[in-house]
Symmetry: C2
Subunit: 736 residues, 2 copies
Amino acid sequence: MRLHPLLKISRNHHPGVLLILRHYSPLSYTPPHFFHVSTRNPPRMAEDELRQSLANKQAAVDAQAAAVRDLKAQGAAGSDLDAAVESLKALKLEAAAAASQLQAAVAASNGDGSSASREAFRQSVVNTLERRLFYIPSFKIYRGVAGLYDYGPPGCAVKSNVLAFWRQHFVLEENMLEVDCPCVTPEVVLKASGHVDKFTDLMVKDEKTGTCYRADHLLKDFCKEKLEKDLTLPAEKAAELKHVLAVLDDLSAEELGAKLKEYGITAPDTKNPLSDPYPFNLMFQTSIGPSGLSPGYMRPETAQGIFVNFKDLYYYNGNKLPFAAAQIGQAFRNEISPRQGLLRVREFTLAEIEHFVDPDDKSHPKYKEVADLEFLMFPREEQLTGQAAKKLCLGEAVFTGTVNNQTLGFFIGRVYLFLTRLGIDKDRLRFRQHLPNEMAHYAADCWDAEIECSYGWIECVGIADRSAYDLRAHTEKSGVSLVAHEKYAEPREVEQLVIVPAKKELGLAFKGNQKMVVEALEAMNEAEAMEVKTALESQGQVEFNVCTLGKTVTITKNMVSVSKQKKKEHQRVFTPSVIEPSFGIGRIIYCLFEHSFYMRASKAGDEQLNVFRFPSLVAPIKCTVFPLVQQQQYEEVAKLISKSLTAAGISHKIDITGTSIGKRYARTDELGVPLAITVDSTTSVTIRERDSKDQIRVSINEVASVVKEVTDGHSTWADVQWNYPAHSAAGGEGTQ
Amino acid sequence: MRLHPLLKISRNHHPGVLLILRHYSPLSYTPPHFFHVSTRNPPRMAEDELRQSLANKQAAVDAQAAAVRDLKAQGAAGSDLDAAVESLKALKLEAAAAASQLQAAVAASNGDGSSASREAFRQSVVNTLERRLFYIPSFKIYRGVAGLYDYGPPGCAVKSNVLAFWRQHFVLEENMLEVDCPCVTPEVVLKASGHVDKFTDLMVKDEKTGTCYRADHLLKDFCKEKLEKDLTLPAEKAAELKHVLAVLDDLSAEELGAKLKEYGITAPDTKNPLSDPYPFNLMFQTSIGPSGLSPGYMRPETAQGIFVNFKDLYYYNGNKLPFAAAQIGQAFRNEISPRQGLLRVREFTLAEIEHFVDPDDKSHPKYKEVADLEFLMFPREEQLTGQAAKKLCLGEAVFTGTVNNQTLGFFIGRVYLFLTRLGIDKDRLRFRQHLPNEMAHYAADCWDAEIECSYGWIECVGIADRSAYDLRAHTEKSGVSLVAHEKYAEPREVEQLVIVPAKKELGLAFKGNQKMVVEALEAMNEAEAMEVKTALESQGQVEFNVCTLGKTVTITKNMVSVSKQKKKEHQRVFTPSVIEPSFGIGRIIYCLFEHSFYMRASKAGDEQLNVFRFPSLVAPIKCTVFPLVQQQQYEEVAKLISKSLTAAGISHKIDITGTSIGKRYARTDELGVPLAITVDSTTSVTIRERDSKDQIRVSINEVASVVKEVTDGHSTWADVQWNYPAHSAAGGEGTQ
């Protein structure tokens, strides 16, 4: 079974459940921690206390209301009644205050304390992204398909910049072996990896309309809504719902079904009854060739293409370990009901690395280059004891064993550098270690790079030490041995168990059963064989169970010889471990969009303008060229500059529309273009920097080289501001 | 119906047949031309004459043999008999000579005159490619899947270099709008494009085993084999078979089936009878979402993703024409029985451009930049009159109307530059115009860039003027109007037909039928309305057929007014034409491999060494670094150089194996690495150029900049040879 960080299959108890964004950790009931929430959240006890306090205050209100009723019934004096009513009013105010306090606490503990403002922020970002064609729902003129998106021109450029940098940062700098395998994959490969049997989500159907839902989503939505909206929920009930949320990912089909029934959950759209949950395989199935007899799937990840090529790649690398192979490509998941925009889609680009290493030596030659990095880490221990993520020195984390080994540490550091250089805010990036029950039994250690955005903390890169699991699975299924060899400097002497059944004697004794007895004898492991040997030597015979016969037979001394022989071994043969950093490119890009987005008032102050503060590395184009006004001579200059920019390899665009220069700046800011060149004379031009809005004046001959200096990162904007005269934007931005 | 140059659907008479590599043109019987063969082939008549001559000689042999038999029977004199036998022998020799002449002619006219040597050459290339992991059959450890290939590390690097150059040459230089759409596509989109109904190949099944074959392949193989091997074939029969080959692509299922029956063609593997041919859709089908109710397909081309986004892209471009959109991505075809290695595969990378243009103005502003290019073109006229492809000046071809318009010409020129800069041999590249019956009825003109390789002339890029077809098809299916607008400088006056039914009078006359009469009146086209008007004016009434009523009614003058009114129009609304260059990246790369490959003797002369003469632009890595011998100090220098190369952005590899330097050079030549740096001192190194094997000596500080100069194309090897001392390779290449 293949366990993929970004496409994870829950495995310990309930292999039928697929987890993607593990927002809730499947802990046992006490104490339930919620790792998905901001690490600065108040501890959970406060909420319980508030719930209790609200219940108490509500009880006081009820009691006082009863007292008022009694007084009325008794025809009590006006002043007594007035006092009692006043007191009731006061108690009601107190209860209301407690309710709103609780409401705030609930919202905070769900990680969306400011959920309204998060939502508003997201709307601004997404509106800008869709309006400027960074991305758009696919097949829009046919009303679209959920979970499928197109990247339009600026999004496509950002994506291709991110992938080019990925290739530079990982493949080229680390000399990785890049491969490119097909998406169409025959069943046998995904059978070996475990996807055919276990890459499933539990689904329920509206029993009348047939509409499908993810069972865990319905249960989750029910619990969250109840917790948020029903403030009179007793503390025990609230605790129960929270427990359900915590263990949601680990529930079996039966357990999920029972909970849905217990809570009376029905189809959200129709309120019709629901079917029992059953597993739905998330791979897009197809058929290879015309016969209809060769089932295939669209790959759910790119990693398998690397594993099946291990033997050739190892040979290509001169039969030497360690080495890494990498692949960038499309992967597919037939989501039951996609939500969260670009974060959960049916087709996406993955970039994966499989670093093959000797399990006895996971050191890394370039580890030192990242050991001094410091960033937010969230080790297992901190999660289990309810602490926050904390800034750690990577070298220290490896040294103390928090991170299992150097190679894993090396990749964590490289991923940190990759993401922050793209423009991910380092304060909203953390590396969270998987809890023991999140990891596969064979995994040595696993860390997710999580990025915080308006949807919460999102797993964007998984970095897992998967031990020898994948290569062993394919070795077993294919019969092709996917192993590495280490030549010893000198041959080593090893003891080897030798079992020689005496076929003649066994034939005489067991006739037709001889073959099965021989096979059973040969199949003994060392301990069993030595036990048999001892018994035969001391007693001359031994009772021996032949499971293929379903009975025990008597073996005598002349029927088998068991011995240990010394042998010279020239090499060690072993299955390499694999350390796998796996990047969800679409998720990284979406988080980058959110981290780069901000709004600022227009100069006139009458509207909010959108800006993406992309670094040049990522920006869809590096600069724009604007003739200040529509005049032949300015347009000529603009074309001249465009030619020199092309020659310098700088992607750019000319905008010769008659729109005001302020509007054109705003348009270019909204695409995240770092620099704008305005042609306002035939000898020199201004260059404006997007975020500061500062302008410098540069001669036409120099403009391309200045832009190149800045966008290549060889000079900062401050450097060039030092070297060139400032230009005051009289009437520029103000006209927008 | 969508007609894609690289994935073509035959359309005029037999829409069921899919053509990919149009080796045979579907001409009428006389005269059959064979455009797939080298343009230097002898004319076809020679073959007919040879066939006739062979038949005559064979007849003479038969006659003489009969004469000899007669003589023997008559007991003729020894000398007479001897003379007759001698004469028979002579005739037999003549017949044998004629047979081998014919054989050679047949082979030549099949384009594989040197088919054995082509085959041997291909084997050498493919062996090298597979051994060095340029590409390998996918899922090899599971015995592979026909038509699926992996690119290994050097192939992947070549592919990514080709794509990067494509993006530079087309998207960036021409400011195209690049998009990135999903592969999974809902049925409605491919229904509109015609793929669901017509993207099929005709298939036959072995009636006993169920094995599937492409019907046209079986017929083609039969005809070719018969023509090549059966030299006694009468000239008429040979002509018939050649005609079948010529019209193969245009045969309907019935015609194909009849031919298979007529020739007694059976299943190649078993000789079992075959089913009748029936269409098999070549798209990989799947199901989107869990309901099973939303059929989808893996896209057979990337173009549809652009068409469905036309409206947004037009808006993004400021509602201005012309503009081009581009997409690079995977496409899928579920081939019935893939053959020809990388040339016909089930999954491949396409790079497509859709250039949208005003149908009334297909000029191109940058056309002048390519107008002076000269290269091999194969216009329709030359094909139809049996002439060869010829070198033409592109500007002339456009001027004389051979190429339909400037924009089409511009792209032909840009494609020529793209392919030749990649390293495609310009003498084995031609632009072949589609014949009228190869093109869709709506297409204005279409040219294929064909590259000659060991498989013959292969269509690698299709450049088609598809008129307004695609946008109209999606407008019709989606109901969303995919059109462009041209604002008039001044409003124009146009006459508009106005029909005003008098509802009151019509109500009185027709009561319950009033509504249907009104609708019928309003639905009149201009001609009908003017006829009614004339009749009413002259006769006061008119007989009017209302088809929804199924009868004719009498309309009088007071029941309807028909007039023409003048109206001002402010803009022209039209569906843009699209000019589509479509690149089969895998095919281009395979041809590039063949064109770059050569063999040369090792210095010792004892073996043939393989070399790929890739230009730096394409080479998988730009240089290698070899410490001459395994010494600490040389390895230190090598690492230092590696760092400076990385800083300069040059992809490279260090090889510190103890292998002889000659072997290491050979290894690097086989990967097509242009330069090799050998560290043989701690102050200076040698740089060796791959093809000349010349070496220069360069100081360690300069080496990175020299390599960069050459691999970036800023200097030639000759330039740097001029500037740096030569190094004589004493003992170098000789040791291999």
